[in-house]
Subunit: 154 residues, 2 copies
DNA sequence: ATAATATTGTTGTAAATGCAACATATTTTT
DNA sequence: AAAAATATGTTGCATTTACAACAATATTAT
């Protein structure tokens, strides 16, 4: 029996990458159209900070899976726009830069959330919520496996 | 009843992006470790060309979801390495650059496939094949919807 | 027929990203 | 105690990527 050759476009890798890339493009176009004041990366950071008050930069980088350099730069712009504040503190006896969302940042986050909510629901509702939950669970379990295997260097 | 607020790290967007990013990192590390002569993008292009002989650049770009500029540059390096040949032809009365895989490219593709097969199986087998098929089908259907909504400009 | 529009590919430039090196401070090892 | 290793953040540079402008040709509209 001949062995089935798996080609790139049939692989789960392709499907994940292209779906993810398209969602990112759609998000970017939406942010542009709605004239939102920050980028999607900044939004992701801001939202994550809002539910992790006092998190340090490296821990945030781990959640966002961005390197420390990149994360620091995103935080620079969020700070410069007045949406977060940063302060020196210690974690395990080490100096770290912690951060929190400002009142202005919180207002902006809510403003953005209200603006985009309807649009994103419109997109994800192409697939039943129950199905999404299953997919999300599979992906999450798989991602946790991947995190064990990949040298992230964050 | 209070409305559940969905945060970025709970979203399907986050899960897709991070899983995809981790797979990409893992792939890159594997290509490095195995000292494979081309990048993952070049590999994806080469594999796609191998099953779409005579495809033109723009159609390839659409499959890979890369812009024309980027696709052209990837093809430059594949051509320069002798893995593909390019030739002018017409499609709908228009001049296009078509391409095909060379004997050398075909050998290299098979060589790479044999090298990486075991490793990738090791990764994806963390999830049962049946589950992958379901996930892949959901993602593919969703991706096709996304393609309708996103302005790709390819 | 002329002008406007569309298709395909390339080039140039700006932005994003990744990566290595550095700076500082702390912990662990010898 | 001195040296090596670790943790955290920043800086600089090279690579990637995105995007807009262009060139050449073909089609469509006026």
């Amino acid at each position: 029996m001949a062995e089935k050759i798996e080609h790139y476009t049939d692989s789960i890798h392709y499907e994940l990458e292209q779906t993810s890339r398209l969602m990112k493009m759609l998000g970017k176009q939406l942010f542009d159209k709605l004239e939102i004041s920050i980028t999607m990366d900044e939004y992701a950071a801001l939202d994550t900070i809002s539910i992790n008050a006092g998190i340090c930069q490296r821990d945030l980088a781990k959640i966002l899976i961005k390197d420390r350099a990149n994360t620091g730069r995103i935080l620079d712009t969020l700070e410069q726009k007045g949406f977060i504040t940063r302060f020196i503190d210690t974690k395990n006896n080490r100096l770290v830069k912690k951060m929190g969302i400002t009142e202005k940042g919180y207002k902006e986050l809510n403003f953005i959330n209200n603006k985009i909510k309807h649009y994103f629901e419109n997109v994800t509702h192409k697939v039943p919520e129950e199905t999404w939950n299953k997919v999300q669970n599979v992906l999450k379990a798989f991602r946790l496996e991947l995190e064990q295997m990949v040298e992230t260097n964050i």
